[in-house]
């Protein structure tokens, strides 16, 4: 794959948070590529660095304490790490937009939802304010909110409705890349399904590439084309969705699948991955997963494994696949 083909290509991204207690290595040498119109699921436990990666793409990692230490982020072939703040502002909300995890806190409580949508439209599209308000109402319609609620404030909406508003804000300027950071985690299951369906439809309508951050493999199965499994700040396995679900290779990925209850398969007990996610301030040497890995060898603790392509564009970051 060449850069020009990809909507987004991240190479060797490293993001640290420098705190008084030490350096938190949130994202370490992360590599990902997303094609146009493609959606990729970024899967991993809490603290794996998924949200930091997403904020890194928008260059919104809170600084201090966060800092992009190294790496390149090619958006449409251009390295955004080198871009200035005014240039980034033109990208945010326009070319790349983000849906945040918690709809209850993601909206400004003192602005009407219509104004909040119109704000992003006015920032990126040249049109009179009245026209932007109209377009904001159209966006509300698209996400299934009647325009008579447009002048309401966030506190007058339920969580699911608020997430629709957040989605409307994110899609208002027809972004080419949409980053959805656990968009359904804070919602009820029934609402989750609605929101996912909505996102799927809108994504098709706008032909948007998407990064779906989640810890829910069910959502990945539902929405994504490709999957990247994150562990301790880097992608440990990357493959097409079907390939990964049928043929998981990395011991961590296998562990993840074993942790999911399966109604068709009667087992005595689930097989959780033993141990805990390492403290990112104090990552183990070598492969960060080796202390929890059943198949760990002595050399696992010595060297960080490279990503090995095992065919079908299936990449595994584990020395077991070094052939």
């Amino acid at each position: 794959m060449t850069e020009s083909n990809n909507m987004l290509e991240i190479k060797g991204l490293t993001i640290h948070y420098v705190t008084d207690d030490g350096v938190v290595r949130a994202v370490n040498d992360l590599n990902i590529a997303i094609g146009r119109g493609e959606s990729i699921g970024l899967v991993g436990e809490t603290g794996a660095g998924k949200t930091t990666t997403a904020l890194g793409i928008l260059k919104l990692v809170p600084n201090p304490p966060g800092k992009i230490i190294d790496g390149e982020i090619f958006l449409d072939g251009e390295d955004i790490i080198k871009k200035s703040e005014p240039e980034m502002r033109k990208i945010r909300g326009n070319k790349v937009s983000m849906i945040f995890q918690d709809p209850m806190t993601s909206l400004n409580p003192v602005m009407t939802v219509r104004d909040q949508i119109a704000e992003v439209i006015l920032l990126h599209e040249k049109m009179p304010a009245a026209k932007a308000l109209e377009k904001a109402e159209e966006m509300l319609m698209k996400v299934g909110i009647m325009p008579d609620r447009a002048k309401d404030y966030p506190h007058q909406f339920s969580g699911g409705m608020r997430q629709r508003v957040v989605i409307a804000i994110a899609l208002a300027c027809s972004p080419e890349l949409l980053i959805a950071d656990e968009p359904t985690t804070a919602l009820d299951v029934t609402i989750q399904a609605q929101v996912l369906e909505l996102m799927k439809n809108l994504k098709e309508e706008f032909n948007t590439s998407m990064i779906m951050i989640t810890h829910d493999l069910g959502i990945v199965a539902e929405i994504c084309d490709k999957v990247a499994v994150m562990y301790a700040g880097s992608v440990v396995e990357y493959a097409d969705k079907l390939e990964l679900f049928k043929n998981p290779k990395h011991p961590y990925t296998i562990g993840l699948f074993n942790s999911i209850p399966d109604i068709g398969n009667d087992v005595e007990s689930l097989k959780p991955i033993k141990g805990l996610m390492p403290d990112p301030m104090n990552l183990p040497t070598g492969c960060p997963f080796h202390p929890r890995c059943d198949k760990a060898k002595p050399e696992c603790s010595e060297k960080i494994p490279a990503g090995y392509d095992i065919g079908n564009n299936h990449i595994v970051k584990c020395i077991l696949f070094n052939q």
């Binding site: 919104l60 033109k90 945010r92 909300g93 945040f100 918690d102 409580p109």
Partner: protein
């Protein structure tokens, strides 16, 4: 909203009656005879007795209290012992100076305090923030009267730029307003800073940034409006107090305001003035509080929806 305001205004009545009762009781039980103090120890007993009769000092407490409340309801607060002029008139002639001083002090504290606090918060732990913190601490700690006197010594006596007393011309406004405003400014600044620090970390601020909004708009529009509630509370409280007269500032600069008048009256046991003054103070405090609550509704729609 209108219904809410009306309800709050009606609630003023029991509050004011309660305040009157307390202050009236206090002046009733304090020893000393106002008639004797007015006429002097050497006055003939008949004259004192006549004055006691005239002022109704021999009537039972409850009758005096009810009479006072009934008069007050008709905006009659009685006559001062000292000048025999209506208390209401005496207060109203002094109120403009006090109001003006309070408003000017408030302007200084708000117009300087909020921006300084916001900048401090956005540049937390920077040199600016640390300097602002230090100066804030200094201004809060300096007693008003000392600051006032030092300003007079420096700007009036040494430099001769500004008049040392009075409150009629704009040049005379500067020193008192500054004396009164700086301490409040430091309070407003610290309040704005801590409130902004909390708001600036909220998710919706990140959302605003993710829209591609300029940092200045994010801070001064998205964040500040959310951070203002506690600041408005503090400013409102201060303003209420200031309306009761900034005693020390008024005294240093010889401003004929309510605070100074009240202190003089307390010294001479001029009970009608004390009662009337406290009642007036309670009223202005309540009105300012109501204003603050109404302002909340405009700042935060969540609060507005609770006003019924």
């Amino acid at each position: 909203m209108h219904k809410y305001i009306l309800k709050r205004l009606l609630m003023l009545i029991p509050v004011l009656i309660g305040v009157t009762f307390i202050i009236f009781t206090l002046s009733y039980i304090t020893p000393g005879c106002p008639a004797t103090m007015t006429l002097g120890e050497t006055a003939p007993a008949e004259a004192i007795e006549a004055l006691r009769q005239e002022w109704g000092l021999d009537d039972p407490f409850i009758i005096r209290f009810v009479r006072y409340v009934a008069d007050a309801a008709r905006l009659n607060l009685g006559e001062t012992y000292a000048t025999r002029r209506p208390v209401m008139e005496e207060i109203l002639t002094r109120f403009p100076a006090t109001l003006q001083l309070a408003v000017m002090g408030l302007f200084i504290s708000v117009l300087l305090g909020i921006p300084l606090g916001v900048i401090s918060a956005t540049k937390q732990y920077s040199l600016f923030d640390n300097l602002a913190t230090i100066f804030g601490l200094i201004f809060v700690s300096i007693p008003n009267f000392w600051l006032g006197m030092m300003l007079v010594v420096f700007f009036s006596v040494n430099l001769g730029w500004l008049p040392p007393s009075g409150f009629e011309t704009p040049a005379q406004w500067i020193l008192p307003a500054f004396t009164l405003g700086t301490g409040q400014m430091a309070v407003v600044m610290r309040m704005s800073r801590s409130s902004m620090l909390e708001v600036i970390r909220q998710d919706y601020i990140r959302t605003a940034r993710a829209k591609g909004q300029k940092e200045s708009v994010v801070v001064w529009n998205h964040a500040l409006r959310n951070a203002l509630i506690p600041v408005v509370t503090a400013v409102g409280l201060t303003f209420g107090f200031l309306l009761g007269g900034a005693v020390l500032t008024e005294t240093i600069f010889s401003i004929n305001g309510i605070g100074r008048f009240m202190v003089q009256s307390i010294n001479s046991r001029d009970n009608p003035v004390i009662n009337g003054g406290v009642l007036f103070l309670a009223l202005s405090f309540s009105v300012v509080n109501l204003g603050v609550d109404i302002l909340y509704a405009y700042l935060d729609p969540r609060i507005k929806s609770q006003y019924k």
